[in-house]
Subunit: 190 residues, 2 copies
């Protein structure tokens, strides 16, 4: 499928994206997921269906794009005074959000309508940015810190793997345990 | 959606499953994915479309079921004489299969048509069984071994996370590195 590359924010393109995304969120909130069709989204957003097909390819790709936006963190990770506290707090919040009903649905949507893997890549980049902020603060404090990649591999990956592949519920202490392990025995993978 | 629970193997139910799975594989191989429809699969398998809808719900759920079957390991992990060698060899093969084009497609299918998470759970159980076999052999040899859960968290999860969420290709040495880390600094999460 040959689609236009995602336009940069600003101007008409950004307005179209904002109104289409808002239309998806509104229709879903009001009438549920089954009511989401390209014509319905287009009508609500005030654009033609062909604008949506041209830009997003199909409904599944549009839902993937909207899901990734919803997974974008709204603020930098809280500063709790130490690497241990910052990373634990961030990991708990991440687990809480991703393992929730809506979180699971967004992750699923993000992966589903994503033929080239770029939306999934954006999800991972959001997590990496947040971790980087936590580790940069640790470095300023003079604390020894693992690499971003080690935190992705040994804190983020296990949480996402269990959310996607293992049906059992996860206690918040699972996040704590992963953080403790990566801080006390940092794997040699920098 | 209320579907019948998956019947136990044996008898008519097993024959239906085998012929429907075979029909999916054949149509996909001959005519590509776009040719897969419930009526086409039913005709090839010699069943009615309603048999498929009743048992699998819809095409996506059928494809998920077929994908999980394809991800089922065909043999126990090779015995290479030591835990390190066995686990490294298994992890390399797992990475190679899952990161391949077909592997990625099966994982995606398995996750997508899987409203209750049971198919994804089967994928993870296959990996856990293989790891368990490797660790049991290590125990028989008197080797110190990590837990199955630690290997899932720190070897399987990072590989699957990167396959799903990070577009970059993964070298085989990535698997080696994860195994070395879990064997030399086993995380305190047994």
């Amino acid at each position: 499928m040959s689609r236009k590359p995602m336009a940069r924010p600003g101007g008409r393109s950004a307005r179209v994206q904002a109104s289409v995304h808002a239309a998806v969120r509104e229709i879903e909130a009001e009438a549920g997921r089954a009511a989401l069709t390209v014509p319905a989204v287009a009508a609500r957003a005030g654009v033609t269906p062909s604008t949506i097909y041209r830009r997003w390819g199909d409904l599944q790709e549009l839902l993937s794009d909207v899901a990734v936006e919803r997974l974008r963190p709204e603020e930098p990770p809280a500063d709790r005074g130490s690497l241990d506290a910052d990373l634990t707090s961030w990991a708990r919040q991440f687990l809480d959000e991703m393992a929730s009903g809506p979180g699971r649905a967004y992750v699923r949507d993000a992966l589903l309508g994503d033929p080239d893997g770029s939306n999934a890549g954006r999800c991972s980049a959001y997590a990496a940015d947040q971790i980087e902020a936590v580790l940069a603060r640790a470095a300023e404090r003079g604390e020894t810190a693992p690499t971003v990649e080690a935190v992705l591999d040994h804190v983020v990956a296990p949480m996402m793997y269990r959310i996607l592949f293992r049906p059992e519920p996860l206690p918040a202490t699972y996040a704590d345990r992963l953080v403790r392990a990566v801080l006390t025995a940092p794997p040699a993978d920098g």
